[in-house]
Amino acid sequence: MRLTVNRETMTVKAHPLTRLLDVLREECGLTGTKEGCGEGECGACTVLVDGEAVNSCLVPVAQVQGRRITTIEGLGGTHPLQRSFVVHGGAQCGICTPGMIMAAAALGPRPSLEEIRIGLAGNLCRCTGYSAIYRSVQRASRR
């Protein structure tokens, strides 16, 4: 099966029903995407498929053949969102951070606070209380 992950075409051997999350972590070696709840509740495993945020724990890999997949690694480490999360305390323990950043990356270039709240409503954080996360996303879009 051929996948396009972070602009790179890859061939994977996984069973077609394998979760995209497991293929990314175990076959592609992209462990930045985290597993939290495994039931679409927490958003830790969020990646983009054709630019749309999805929970990779609920996606069979067969359904993303030929689509563009972007993981946290695809942002390159210096993306304005990544820098902003560091500078403004948007990350604490870190387990939710890749999912938060990918969900934020799916928003438009200058999201309002309301759009950020809605866009990140499917991502749970147990450390920050969200204010620092919203602030990080807002400041990133002001650059």
Partner: protein, 280 residues
């Protein structure tokens, strides 16, 4: 992940005709759309050994189309499609309201209207909307097409009128006249399964118009509240209608709420519906 995929098969139809043939010849198969319910069961190991039919690439099952008096919504239409559709905003805003309350953005991008209906949870957010809108479920099999009114689609807890060889292909909704109303009561705005969910329509411009009202999470199936509707249209007081509502619903205690709470909130929601749907 506690469930396993090894030993499970996935069939990949290339067309709708192909899919219904597979259902007839190679069943039983579980149709697979956005997987937002199916993969929760698979991940937790509660799904019985099953063969799946992947519908995700059948684009003929996507789309929203208003033709004359009928609004047609494809089974694979996602919640995000519903939220962003101008046609839905104009003709069926209560469906957009329900779609906005499903999960978070990630679920809305993948979850489908057909999946919500087929999953047959009594708590499904869009189901009271489809009931109150007098929706017909269009089912296709290799033998042909038939339409089942939403009001007779659910036959018992998680049971539907669809046969194992039939696919939900789309929904047909006649023009809805009057004010549309939707409320979901849950523990938080996003990612919560409803303690109670309700949709209603009331055309205040027509004298003695009969309201249409449906509720979820108050019975083994999503309920159209026809006796309560009848009471309201024949001029019953709110208190009388609330008494009839209590006889019509059969809520239970479960991990999300209690029977007592659901009965109280159902009565309150009926009061809100009467006040807000009739307000100019």
């Amino acid at each position: 992940m506690q469930g396993t995929v090894s030993g499970r098969d996935l069939l990949e139809p290339r067309s709708l005709a192909d899919a219904v043939k597979m259902l007839r010849d190679e069943g039983p198969l579980v149709p697979m759309a956005g997987c937002t319910d199916l993969y929760v069961a698979l991940n937790f190991g509660t799904l019985r050994p099953t063969r799946f039919l992947n519908l995700w690439n059948l684009d003929t099952l996507r789309g929203i189309e208003a033709r004359g008096q009928t609004l047609r919504i494809g089974a694979l239409t996602t919640y995000t499609d519903l939220i962003t559709s101008g046609v839905i905003r104009r003709r069926l805003p209560m469906l957009a309201a329900a779609a906005r309350e499903v999960g978070g953005v990630q679920i809305q991008n993948r979850g489908t209207l057909g999946g919500n209906v087929a999953n047959a949870s009594p708590a499904g957010d869009t189901l009271p909307v489809l009931l109150a809108a007098d929706t017909s479920v269009v089912l296709r099999s290799a033998a042909g097409t038939r339409r089942v009114p939403m009001t007779s689609f659910y036959t018992g807890y998680r049971q539907t009128a669809a046969r194992p060889d039939e696919l939900i292909v789309n929904f047909e909704i006649p023009t809805v006249r009057g004010r549309q109303w939707f409320r979901k009561v849950g523990t938080r705005a996003a990612q919560a399964i409803a303690k109670i969910v309700v949709a209603g329509v009331w055309d205040k411009a027509r004298v003695r118009a009969r309201p249409r009202l449906a509720m979820g999470s108050v019975a083994p199936i999503p309920l159209r509240l026809s006796q309560t509707e009848q009471a309201l249209s024949s001029g019953a007081s709110l208190a009388e209608a609330q008494t009839i509502l209590q006889r019509e619903i059969a809520p239970i205690d479960d991990l999300r709420s209690t029977e007592e709470y659901r009965r109280q909130v159902a009565a309150n929601l009926l009061g809100q519906f009467c006040a807000e749907a009739l307000r100019r």
